[in-house]
């Protein structure tokens, strides 16, 4: 073996090893994040965390019950607003529209998807907070819902399009009208994919903080009405993490663990739904 060939083989082996090292580093970051969060959050989480209101500033103890409920309300509103628009919009794109309209809608959705979350916050502020003159759960839900639209729309459309045409033709040959075909054949066929899309969109906005800073704002007490400011888990993590109190840091870790656990669980469930058989039957 010539020296040159040996050198080339060495370079090949070395560089390929390096790529392996890169992959290892990237994946070990996840393990590290999970491990550190579980360690720190696990030791500071307790029953109080889920049942108590935040303690007054300066006192230790207390929990984040209001933030957990606040996040749930925000996500409920967001889904109520974002999922129908994404879902029905996708049906229009996949089943009814001509290519020009589809292009415009798709382009708008991609644009919306790329908007930085803090800018979404500004938009929700000027659309909902300013007219009502109030930070509110409503405004936060609007901001998060806005972020759910493009994710739901684009992936739902993909899954609707992957339904084989033979199914559409079959239903119509039996005399079903178009909307009946969609409601009874196409959507049920693609429901796994659609469910996955909705779950992933949900998980994505569940951790969003920036759009909530000046829409849902924050609240150290229960938020009784939809037009009152509300606490939410991500914003609580942010405020507690940058605060000077050790006890708040501890609670930020606990909240981080709860939030990450929820998001990763939704992600894993969504992927499991999709992979438990393909999204659409092969025809």
């Amino acid at each position: 073996m010539s020296a040159r060939l040996r050198w080339r083989k060495f370079v090949s082996g070395f560089m390929l090893t390096m790529t392996g090292v890169c992959a290892l580093v990237a994946v070990s970051v996840l393990c590290f994040i999970l491990g550190y969060l579980v360690f720190h959050g696990g030791t500071s989480i307790g029953w109080n965390f889920f049942t108590k209101l935040p303690a007054p500033v300066g006192e230790t103890g207390g929990g984040m019950a209001n933030a957990i409920l606040g996040s749930a309300k925000l996500l409920f509103l967001a889904s109520l607003f974002g999922v129908p628009i994404g879902f029905f919009g996708a049906i229009y794109l996949a089943e009814f529209s001509g290519s020009t309209v589809a292009f415009i809608v798709r382009y708008a959705a991609d644009l919306l998807n790329g908007v930085p979350s803090i800018v979404i916050g500004i938009f929700a502020y000027s659309m909902v907070v300013l007219p009502f003159k109030h930070f509110s759960t409503l405004a936060g839900g609007f901001a998060l819902g806005l972020m759910m639209i493009p994710i739901t729309l684009r992936s739902t459309e993909e899954f609707l399009r992957s339904v084989p045409n033979a199914l559409r033709e079959g239903a119509m040959a039996l005399g079903a009208s178009k909307w009946k075909t969609i409601a009874t054949v196409i959507v049920p066929t693609a429901y796994r994919g659609i469910l996955t899309a909705v779950l992933l969109a949900f998980a994505r906005v569940a951790g969003e903080t920036a759009p909530l800073l000046f829409t849902a704002f924050g609240n150290r007490f229960w938020s009784h009405r939809w037009n009152e400011p509300t606490a939410s888990l991500p914003v609580m993590i942010f405020t507690y993490a940058i605060s000077p109190y050790d006890d708040w840091h501890r609670q930020a870790w606990a909240a981080g663990l709860v939030l990450l656990g929820l998001i990763l669980a939704i992600n894993i469930v969504a992927r499991a739904i999709l992979s438990r058989g393909s999204a659409v039957p092969r025809s």
Binding site: R8, V11, S12, L16, T19, C22, A23, A26, V27, V29, L30, Y36, L37, F87, F88, G89, Y92, L93, A94, F96, S97, G98, S99, V101, A102, A108, D110, L112, G114, V115, P116, I118, V119, I122, F123, S126, L146, N165, R168, S177, K178, W179, R204, G207, E208, T209, A210, L213, F214, I237, F238, I242, H249, A252, W253, L259, L260, I263, L264, I268
Partner: protein, 329 residues
């Protein structure tokens, strides 16, 4: 893809064979109109967003003009607003992040696409997708409690003693600052780079690899000189996508950058970014000019990410198209 909607047969084989009224009775026209409303609202909301940003930033646009981007005084009391330190901070942190994330991400993507057995590659990809789903405030949390102390105690002193002659690595080690923000951002965008680059690399036709190997190149040479150049534009796309994410990232940066409007050559210096200043000052902005200056910053951020995302999509599209065309030929 866009043409498939035309190949979906309508209920009637002959267009216009059924009257509008009968379609209405069967509900097709109603369904069409309702779903159209939803689809149209997506476009409407997007247009409204751009319009609101434009309208909301009228005051500073008229008062400062382009000086807004050139001056660096940010003084709410005297109503002087210059965005230069924020633009500088956003660019510096994003570029630092890319300098770290691109080599690591592409290396990992090459490993996943070229070397790893399919099973391992898919498993790792699953983990990396999860990594992409971790919310940014969690990265911020880890940044505050892990990266900042690490930087202050070990990394910054080490950099100073080895590379301290460069202006980049001078000044006191605060822990917070451009470099810390860049590192946290890098950790955040690596999953995007890996995910997209891996897809693009996998779409390179097999014969390209086989041809290179049959000409006697080593595995690495076939990868680096044939496969990667083939996928070059798509990889560039993934980098732009990561850059757009990094520019718009708010929470993680706000928590570790130090929040001081300084323009400094040193990466150790605390700084400020566009997204961070909006997050910190928006609720406290008194006076219309102050608030609208922040909205103009939002507009700048929007335009930056809009352009980058557009470029990214174009590049990824071009590559995957070229891949499929060559595969067919």
């Amino acid at each position: 893809m866009a043409t498939t909607s035309k190949t979906v047969p309508g209920a009637s084989p002959i267009p216009g064979a059924r009257s509008f009224l009968s379609r209405l009775r069967e509900g097709d026209e109603i369904a069409r109109m309702i779903t159209f409303l939803f689809a149209a609202s997506v476009v409407l909301v997007t247009l409204l967003l751009v319009f609101e940003l434009w309208r909301g930033s009228a005051l500073p646009r008229h008062k400062f003009g382009f000086a807004f981007f050139r001056t660096s005084v940010w003084d709410p009391i005297f109503d002087q607003f210059g965005a230069l330190p924020f633009i500088y901070g956003t660019l510096v942190t994003s570029i630092t992040a890319l300098l770290i994330a691109v080599p690591l991400g592409i290396g990992a993507a090459i490993f996943l696409a070229e070397l790893a057995p399919a099973r391992l590659s898919d498993t790792l990809e699953f983990f990396i997708d999860l990594l992409a789903a971790v919310p940014s405030v969690i990265y911020g949390l880890l940044g505050v409690f892990i990266v900042i102390p690490l930087m202050r105690l070990y990394i910054q002193p080490a950099l100073k003693s080895t590379l301290g002659f460069l202006p980049l690595f001078q000044g006191p080690a605060y822990g917070v600052g451009f470099l810390t923000a860049g590192i946290v951002l890098a950790i955040m965008v690596i999953p995007y780079i890996i995910s997209v680059s891996r897809e693009v690399l996998l779409s390179v036709p097999r014969d390209q690899r086989e041809a290179a190997l049959s000409l006697g190149s080593t595995h690495w040479e076939s990868t680096w000189k044939v496969v990667v150049p083939f996928a070059r534009t798509g990889i560039m796309g993934s980098i732009f996508l990561a850059l757009a994410r990094a520019l718009g990232e708010t929470m993680a940066v706000t928590m570790v950058i130090g929040n001081t409007p300084i323009i400094s050559a040193s990466l150790f210096s605390p700084g400020y970014s566009i997204a961070a200043v909006i997050a910190n000052e928006f609720t406290e902005a008194t006076g219309d000019l102050y608030l609208q200056s922040l909205i103009e910053l939002g507009l700048v951020l929007f335009l930056l990410t809009f352009i980058l995302n557009g470029l990214a999509r174009l590049l990824i599209l071009v590559t995957s198209k070229r891949g499929s065309e060559t595969a067919l030929a």
